[in-house]
């Protein structure tokens, strides 16, 4: 009985947590359009955030997805070689990167860089009463802090995903040119032939949703920080862990949906 009760309580907590995330997203959407704060200042803060979460992540996202592209090509070649189908390396790399790995790896890098930073920033502001100070100045913390973060993420995650697609394919291309009898031109053509627009758009849709989830979790964890520096650490950790879990779950759901919808598409 005890076990059943615990499972029930844990389920209730999870549902309440997801509810809180949805509420935060809903409130942010409402405040985006009905903001009591000035638009141009909101745009400034959003651009500032976009620089931090998007432009700042470019080097590391580039490096990692490039390597992942090489790795996929190497792993694929290991098997394709036996079938004498080395020319399929290009389509293997391009499809797995654009549909899956580009957005996913971008999401994980962004969680580590920005999801954790959101939780730490807002959590610290909770501890030092800065959130209270914002409230007493009639600056809603959600309108002031969270809306620009959602905006920045909604724009930058798809951009980063597209860039990571490019870098991943470039990684595959390097292998293809070096040891699979491709030339740069023929690899690009093979990639172009393998991809359909749908592959790239599904990746971008996923990246957008990941961005919203990462922001919601990071900010939610920040706001729920208790008293003391230790709590900020706890919030940051759980922002990362929960974001990764949710991103993977959502990835599974979306990939399933796209798979089921393939016939009709």
């Amino acid at each position: 009985m005890q076990f059943v009760a615990e499972v029930g309580a844990a389920t209730e907590r999870s549902v309440a947590y997801v509810g809180a995330l949805a509420q935060l997203l809903g409130k942010s959407l409402r405040l985006l359009f009905l903001s009591p704060l000035k638009r141009n200042r909101l745009a400034q803060r959003a651009v500032h955030q976009a620089m931090a979460v998007g432009v700042g992540a470019l080097p590391i996202v580039s490096l990692i997805t490039f390597f992942v592209g090489v790795i996929i090509a190497l792993q694929g070649a290991y098997e394709l070689q036996r079938l004498g189908a080395m020319q399929l390396v290009a389509s293997l790399v391009s499809i797995s990167i654009t549909r899956e790995l580009g957005p996913l790896i971008t999401a994980i890098v962004v969680i580590g860089r920005s999801g954790s930073a959101f939780a730490a920033e807002i959590g610290t502001m909770r501890v030092t009463e800065e959130l209270d100070a914002l409230e007493t100045m009639a600056l809603d913390p959600v309108a002031f802090l969270v809306v620009p973060k959602f905006l920045a993420m909604a724009v930058m995650m798809p951009c980063l995903a597209i860039w990571s697609d490019f870098m991943g394919v470039l990684g595959g291309c390097m292998f293809g040119v070096a040891s699979a009898n491709f030339t740069f031109g023929s690899y690009v053509i093979a990639t172009r032939d393998a991809l359909v627009a749908h592959d790239i758009t599904t990746g971008i849709v996923k990246a957008l949703v990941f961005g919203l989830v990462i922001t919601a979790v990071g900010c939610q964890e920040g706001f729920s920080t208790g008293a003391g520096a230790e709590e900020v650490g706890r919030s940051t950790t759980s922002a990362v862990v929960v974001s990764i879990l949710l991103v993977i779950v959502i990835d599974l759901v979306f990939t399933t949906l796209f798979y089921l919808a393939r016939g009709t598409a």
């Binding site: 030092t128 209270d132 409230e135 007493t136 009639a138």
Partner: protein, 269 residues
């Protein structure tokens, strides 16, 4: 039935009760603060004085009773009404609570930039004036972390005054400061009182400072008002709990206090 608010009162509190979880921290307070008055709320640690301050500015919701600030019941106010009130009040936090990612000047300019149509150049001048008032001229471009504790408090005063509020709240303005800086802060409050006839509510446990700046004193003990009146009257009070607080006599029975503190800590979990 509670008495109606006095017509001239800027803040009127009736049967205010505040709970953290199941624990009641304030047990039915009632008082009025009139325009231009400096009221000092004193009380020991855990007496509920900080909770009272947080409730007056709308950071805590009363569990029952009424808190009217400029005629609006803040327990029932909509977000828009609450924002309108908040633009007329200023709160200087105990630790300053300056936004760490902004410079001192940007902190003071923040509310002005968001809530007023003033030009940035005008705001820049206003920021300089506010900083000069608190004796921090030239510190606009410092980050809050580069300031000392006392300077941070002064910067917080400047920020609280940025919108020229009608009511200023101070949370422990001289706590944790050396006597000279603390005296400087008292002088600053007295200056503001003389120059702007602002309504001020100061929460503190520094007795010397309380008697120096107060028109009226409210002594809170374990969530109840035990004494309220002009500074002189409270000083001459014969109430045993007031005497004990003013004469700095330790509690002989610690249990009550421990219970009371537990009430807070458990409520917070």
């Amino acid at each position: 039935m509670a008495a109606p608010a006095a017509p001239s009162s800027v803040i009127s509190v009736r049967d205010l009760r505040v709970q953290y979880g199941d624990r009641e921290v304030l047990h039915g307070l009632a008082f009025d603060i009139v325009h231009g008055e400096t009221v000092v709320v004193i009380g020991g640690s855990g007496s509920g004085k900080s909770t009272l301050l947080r409730t007056l500015v709308g950071l805590e919701k009363p569990s029952s009773g009424e808190v009217r600030v400029k005629g609006v019941d803040i327990a029932k106010a909509s977000a828009r009404e609450m924002d309108a009130i908040r633009k007329k009040i200023g709160l200087a936090f105990q630790g300053g609570a300056l936004i760490g990612s902004l410079s001192v000047g940007e902190n003071i300019a923040l509310a002005l930039l968001e809530h007023t149509p003033l030009k940035p150049t005008t705001i820049e001048v206003m920021v300089r004036i506010k900083l000069e008032q608190v004796g921090l001229s030239g510190f606009e471009n410092y980050s809050p972390s580069q300031l000392s504790g006392g300077m941070r408090k002064r910067a917080a005063f400047a920020r609280a005054m940025a919108m020229d509020p009608e009511i200023l709240f101070f949370d422990e303005p001289s706590a944790g400061l050396d006597p000279i800086t603390a005296a400087g802060i008292d002088d600053l409050i007295l200056d503001l009182k003389k120059a702007y006839s602002m309504t001020m509510v100061v929460v503190t446990h520094e007795l010397a400072s309380a008697f120096l700046i107060a028109d009226r004193i409210i002594l809170i003990d374990r969530g109840n008002i035990v004494a309220m009146g002009p500074a002189q009257e409270v000083r001459d009070s014969t109430h045993p709990r007031v005497r004990q607080f003013l004469d700095r006599v330790a509690d002989t029975t610690q249990d009550d206090d421990v219970d009371h503190m537990r009430m807070y800590t458990e409520g917070l979990k």
